[in-house]
Symmetry: C2
Subunit: 124 residues, 2 copies
């Protein structure tokens, strides 16, 4: 019961956090919009619960700050902006994502050079 479900590239905290920081580095936003942006980035496993939780947690860490903002259409929104701290956090997150990318790339390369005895499409 621990290798279940890999059919999603669910992208948990390791991705959601840098994503949110990046999006906020591009400009202030609010939860609902961030959710849609994150999803548009291809992150399937993004759900409201986790996202709102994340935003509040990041606020507690002073990576972001927020305030209520009334909207003329619909309920009030909590608008988030990146703090100085958050900018630093983004930089660090990105650095570790670069590491991850390298590991990923080398793993994928390694897979591609695997002698695949089964159903190989190799030519000549």
């Amino acid at each position: 019961m621990s290798t279940q479900n890999d059919s999603n590239g669910a992208l948990p905290r390791h991705y959601l956090k840098p994503c949110l920081l990046l999006l906020l580095a591009e400009g202030p936003s609010h939860g609902y919009e961030l959710l849609e942006q994150v999803r548009r980035m291809g992150i399937k496993g993004a759900e409201p619960g986790g996202l709102y939780r994340y935003l509040r947690a990041m606020e507690k860490e002073e990576m972001v700050s927020s305030w209520w903002e009334p909207s003329q259409a619909g309920p009030a929104r909590r608008t988030y902006v990146l703090t100085e701290q958050g900018r630093k956090g983004l930089n660090e997150s990105v650095q570790s994502l670069r590491d991850v990318r390298e590991i990923l790339v080398s793993l994928l390369d390694r897979y591609d050079t695997l002698p695949n005895r089964a159903g190989s499409s190799s030519r000549s």
Copy 2:
């Protein structure tokens, strides 16, 4: 309490599983050796507990099979090999890692084109 510790590129299940499948696709091996190989691949967060548990779990899913093998120096080892199933699992895992890589790459690109008002190294 949810954005704690990002200082590691800890690479949880999403990476451990494909890693193990890849390594086993390269040839049979045993837990202790796999642990060291995984670590050599740059995955810091790999610990024995999780790894052994993972192997057993994958066996339950018939991705791998194993048997005890005596060793002339030290305690007996459980040798693992990839099954047909496991090979398929690897292929699928890899596909989803490719998706992850794409997301990662585009995210990183997006970060690089960010107008960085702070400490920018832009000239002229």
